[in-house]
């Protein structure tokens, strides 16, 4: 398949729809699996890796999935195209950069399912959904796992469960992650409080937040850490209850802002939009920050004519590999910053903040 044809399209997870999509960007669940009686990828000889790859590739090709799964060998992709797939979250950075030998990825047209072969584990399955959709994602990946398991024998241990190269994944092999946009908590400086609530459960929270007066702290990813001693539904429940609390905090923060600081908020959003519409150099960092403010503005009805899917599209298209594919040439950092600013100006030309 031609990767370029994917360029204008948004994967399912970036659709900007789904439950709680004003705050929850996407839900992702991955399962790590290995074949019985085979060394793990990092210790397998070239011929063994080839054997694993051809076995899994054939199995994936024969899967009776409702939409076709396209398999691409990593050796057939140049660095730019591998980076392109990383930006679309279809492969890991490790897959793009680190591993040697036969390896590849299969994904469907909606980009909601991706199956990596010979990553750190021989099979890394991933299901992505936009919005807060843990159950849907689990159902889908559980089904794919069952279908593959009918064709191959997984490395499984009575006591330790599904065996993985890294003991942090052993057991269920499941990592569920939810990506959140929490500008309200950032602006009201309550992100610390939210972190404290998160600390009560054993979940991993990743992300960053700006310090001082620069309110950023927008994107956070919450994942389960433990894969032993809890069933998949139990682990998902832990995440679910934490997210529900976080959503409550964020909504409260947003309504407080709207009630008590509407003008300042409006100003902030309008300035962010204005900068995106007029700057001539734009780094990725700044783009992220400004789009984050604009995204908040859209969900708080402070901007007209702009939709969440368009913002998601801009997030995606302004990343280096996407940008270079759109422009159609390789660009160095500075040229990219100019091209990014030009692209943003074009896409946001007609948009205006709400004047009231």
């Amino acid at each position: 398949m031609k990767l370029d044809s994917m360029l204008p399209q948004l994967g399912e997870w970036l659709r900007g729809t789904g439950p709680e999509s004003d705050i929850v960007i996407s839900t992702r669940i991955r399962l790590a699996r290995n074949l019985a009686d085979m060394p793990f990828t990092n210790r397998a000889a070239g011929i063994q890796k080839a054997e694993v790859e051809s076995k899994l590739r054939e199995t994936i090709a024969k899967l009776n999935w409702h939409s076709p799964l396209h398999y691409i060998g990593m050796q057939d992709l140049n660095a730019l195209n591998r980076q392109f797939l990383v930006e679309r979250q279809l492969i890991s950075r490790e897959m793009a950069n680190v591993l040697e030998g036969p390896r590849g990825v299969a994904f469907d047209d909606t980009e909601s399912v991706s199956l990596m072969v010979n990553e750190e584990d021989q099979l890394r399955m991933q299901v992505m959904r936009s919005g807060f959709a843990l159950d849907q994602a689990w159902e889908t990946i559980d089904r794919i796992d069952d279908m593959i398991e009918q064709k191959v024998q997984y490395a499984f241990h009575d006591q330790f469960g599904y065996l993985t190269a890294c003991p942090t994944n052993v057991g269920t092999g499941m990592r569920a992650s939810v990506m959140l946009h929490l500008p309200g908590l950032g602006l009201t400086k309550q992100i610390e409080k939210a972190f404290k609530a998160m600390q009560k459960i054993n979940l991993v929270v990743r992300g960053l937040y700006g310090e001082g007066s620069r309110a950023s702290g927008d994107f956070f990813q919450i994942s389960n850490q433990m894969t032993l001693g809890k069933s998949e539904p139990e682990a998902l429940n832990d995440i679910r209850s934490l997210i529900h609390d976080t959503l409550k905090y964020e909504r409260f923060a947003r309504s407080t802002l709207l009630r008590e600081n509407k003008q300042a908020l409006q100003d902030r959003v309008a300035r962010a939009l204005g900068t995106l519409q007029s700057a001539t150099m734009m780094t990725s960092e700044e783009t992220m920050e400004l789009l984050s403010a604009v995204r908040l503005g859209v969900h708080m009805h402070l901007i007209e004519d702009l939709t969440a899917p368009l913002i998601n599209e801009l997030f995606l298209q302004t990343q280096p590999a996407h940008l270079q594919k759109i422009i159609g040439e390789a660009l160095d950092g500075e040229a990219r910053n100019a091209a990014r600013a030009r692209y943003l100006r074009q896409r946001l030309r007609e948009i205006s903040p709400q004047a009231n």
Partner: protein, 180 residues
């Protein structure tokens, strides 16, 4: 990897130093593991080298945790680190330095040393959750056979109350299987 791609989902320049090389840090990660908050400040070069990447698919905090747990485990004597897995040849010492096991057998070969490690990471040593369907049915068959043996034994001991209980249990399980 370019600076821009690193910045996806949250990288911002602050006047802090990279904790690995003391260049200006460009990434500031907050990780919460087992109720402990950790901040990591790194520059792009070190982030790339160490595969520390925010958001996305990076599993950095978990790998960092593993390194942390493995590194703070002085109770293990050197000698036993030399035992190698007969299947893949991995020695425990190698696992300690690399953080990756070599093959499924390693979980048996190094079982005694992995158990306390797993307890630290997961607070558990036992899998609870999905079981491959093939094993699932094998387990069920085994369980039914056990019940039948117990039933036979109860009958020989003329413990008819127990026998009746087991008979009903077996019947209900068989019916459950049929309806599936």
């Amino acid at each position: 990897m370019s600076k821009e791609s690193l910045s996806k989902f949250g990288v911002r320049p602050l006047a802090m130093k990279c904790q690995f090389c003391s260049n200006p840090a460009t990434m500031h990660l907050t990780t919460i593991i087992n109720r402990k908050k950790r901040e990591t400040h790194v520059c792009d070069a070190c982030a790339e080298e160490r595969n520390i990447l925010p958001g996305k698919s990076s599993e950095m905090p978990i790998n960092a945790l593993l390194q942390f747990v493995l590194g703070s485990n002085p109770g293990i004597e050197k000698e036993s680190d030399e035992t190698a897995c007969p299947e893949c040849g991995l020695k425990y010492a190698q696992f300690r330095s690399e953080g990756r096991l070599g093959c499924p057998h390693d979980y048996e070969v190094f079982k005694e040393r992995l158990e306390p490690l797993l307890l630290k990471i997961h607070r558990s040593q036992n899998h609870v959750g999905k079981v491959p369907a093939s094993l699932h049915s094998a387990r069920q068959a085994q369980e039914m056979q056990n019940f039948r043996n117990q039933l036979l034994e109860a009958v020989t001991r003329e413990n008819y109350e127990e026998a009746a209980r087991l008979r009903d249990l077996i019947r209900s399980k068989e019916q459950l299987d049929e309806t599936r």
